[in-house]
């Protein structure tokens, strides 16, 4: 396994009495893209701010690239690129000026500044607007400048707080591919409440709710959970359901109307072929046969409501 870029141990953060993050531990390795999911106010942003040294944790430890963030903040922050939920832009500067300033802040030497700025502009598609004032750019472009600022000094760890907010679908796709591209050589954490985004661009996912980590899973593991377990069948004439009883993997059949059915089956098998064969042989007239995927939303809502129920119990 590749070395850990981030190791957070038992992080907690209180705002007065209110506990925003409660005993959260996780790690990030090189080449991973970690998606942070959670409803509003779950503690995503607070966690990210702690990782970037913008906020000191009430308890816990953060190791960035093996360096303790609290003991040696300056060294640790050199390996970090951070895009907060509101992109931190000096709007009276042009894109070029702003990026040059950021490059200098991150300790890039004078000679390498223009090279770094050009690379970041290329990656984020900012070449057309390079000499325009940031204040005059659309929200999408401002967001891109924010991302450019975070990847400018090619940090090992990139932390993006809701990177695709306010972007149009084409831009979102571009940013996703950018994240994938960056993910191969860096470690990335991104937070979002758009679930499909996690599926698209992350390799790992964490769901956080009311300050607690309630799920930590790889995307493939998550896909396993989401695997088909229902099949929707529509036929022309009514089926005789008793024929299905001898297929082991089918657990239950629901009748949603006279000619449409929901067939529940075990996760590890796929009886679609058999079902189709039976229906065709019986001459019931197969009109539709659709595997229904459990969506990320279902899992998310399931988990968070389970968690909430546990909390209140």
């Amino acid at each position: 396994m590749s070395p850990l870029l981030i190791e957070a141990k038992n992080l907690s953060r209180y705002y007065d009495q209110h506990c925003a993050v409660n005993d959260v531990s996780f790690s990030l390795a090189k080449g991973e893209v970690l998606g942070f999911l959670g409803p509003n106010g779950a503690g995503k942003t607070t966690t990210m701010q702690m990782l970037c040294g913008n906020l000191a944790p009430s308890a816990g430890e953060i190791d960035i690239n093996g360096i303790d963030l609290l003991d040696q903040p300056r060294l640790a922050k050199q390996c970090l690129g951070y895009l907060p939920d509101t992109p931190p832009l000096y709007k009276e500067l042009t894109v070029d000026e702003f990026l040059q300033y950021c490059a200098r802040l991150h300790g890039i030497s004078f000679r390498e500044v223009s090279q770094a700025v050009n690379l970041a502009k290329d990656r984020c598609g900012l070449n057309d607007v390079a000499s325009r004032l940031i204040v005059n750019l659309s929200k999408g472009y401002q967001q891109r400048v924010g991302i450019a600022q975070a990847i400018l000094h090619t940090p090992e760890i990139i932390i993006l707080d809701e990177p695709t907010v306010g972007l149009d679908p084409i831009q979102i796709r571009e940013i996703r591919s950018l994240i994938k591209e960056l993910g191969s050589e860096h470690g990335i954490i991104l937070s979002t409440h758009i679930l499909s985004e996690v599926q698209e661009s992350c390799s790992h996912v964490q769901i956080i709710n009311q300050g607690k980590l309630i799920l930590k899973e790889t995307i493939s593991g998550l896909n396993q959970r989401m695997n088909t377990s229902m099949i929707k069948v529509v036929t022309r004439s009514t089926m005789d359901l008793s024929v299905f009883s001898n297929i082991n993997s089918i657990s239950q059949i629901e009748n949603s109307s006279d000619t449409s059915y929901l067939i529940h089956h075990a996760n590890d098998s796929n009886p679609i072929e058999v079902i189709a064969e039976i229906i065709i042989n019986a001459g019931w007239g197969l009109l539709e046969l659709t595997p229904i995927k459990k969506t990320m939303e279902d899992i998310f809502i399931n988990l968070t409501s389970e968690h909430n129920a546990e909390e209140s119990a």
Binding site: A56, P84, G107
Partner: protein, 250 residues
């Protein structure tokens, strides 16, 4: 790193009309005051020539000019410093600085030197006016330099307090009002000392005006210089503490 922040700070000031208008207004008013002083001098010139040990051109023109400048800068500096940290916090750009590999000290010093650069420019422009007198007369160089030093130290002290207020306040206007209030208080603190029997040693020592005038008169005193240096460093350290505190609690 400090220089990078200072340079951006200065650049931003000049990108908005604020710096330009302040420079223009200041220069206009001070030039007018300068002219009236020159006028006074020329009308008294004949009488002055007959007095032994008469006050020279420096005493009559430069001293009042710098005194006037100090009062006007007392009004202007809070306007320049109010946005320093406050606005960054409001626009959420502060996190850019906080997540960069910088210490709080560097951020604060960068901001301080940025605004100090602007103030030094103002001081420089003011100093140009007496220099123009060299065409037709002579200046007491020592006294003139003392005046420049006094004004520089004074505006640096103004800036440090303005910076601290900008760290505390949630809105730039509040920062401006608070720093203006404190500056004015420190300025007039000495006035009670004028009334016999009511003067306080402490007030006398704390008053900015006293120390400023002392250097202005050409008397370079460690006490006055260290007063200003202490004043500046106290408020810079307080500002750094305040910025670090941001991370700990909100």
């Amino acid at each position: 790193m400090i220089f990078t922040i200072a340079a951006r700070e200065l650049k931003t000031l000049f990108l908005s009309p604020l710096a330009w208008s302040i420079l223009a207004v200041l220069q206009f008013i001070l030039a007018y005051l300068f002219l009236t002083q020159v006028e006074t001098f020329t009308s008294f010139q004949a009488q002055l020539a007959s007095i032994q040990n008469a006050p020279g051109i420096t005493d009559i023109i430069v001293l009042p000019l710098f005194s006037n400048a100090s009062i006007i800068l007392l009004l202007v500096t809070p306007l320049l410093t109010m946005r320093l940290v406050c606005e960054e916090r409001r626009n959420k750009t502060l996190s850019l600085l906080l997540s960069a590999p910088l210490s709080g000290t560097e951020i604060i010093l960068g901001k301080f030197f940025g605004i100090l650069g602007m103030l030094m420019l103002i001081v420089g422009l003011i100093s140009l006016m007496p220099l123009s007198l060299l065409i037709g007369g002579e200046l007491d160089t020592g006294k003139f330099l003392c005046n420049i030093l006094a004004l520089s130290l004074l505006v640096a002290a103004f800036a440090s307090i303005g910076l601290y207020m900008s760290c505390i306040a949630s809105h730039p206007t509040i920062a401006a009002i608070c720093s203006f209030g404190i500056l004015l208080l420190l300025w007039v603190l000495d006035w009670t000392a004028g009334i016999k029997g009511q003067g306080s040693e402490l007030f006398h020592y704390l008053s900015m005006l006293k120390h400023f005038q002392s250097i202005q008169s050409g008397l370079l005193n460690t006490l006055d210089i260290s007063y200003f240096l202490l004043f500046i460093s106290t408020f810079l350290i307080l500002s750094i503490r305040r910025l670090e505190n941001d991370r700990l609690q909100r």
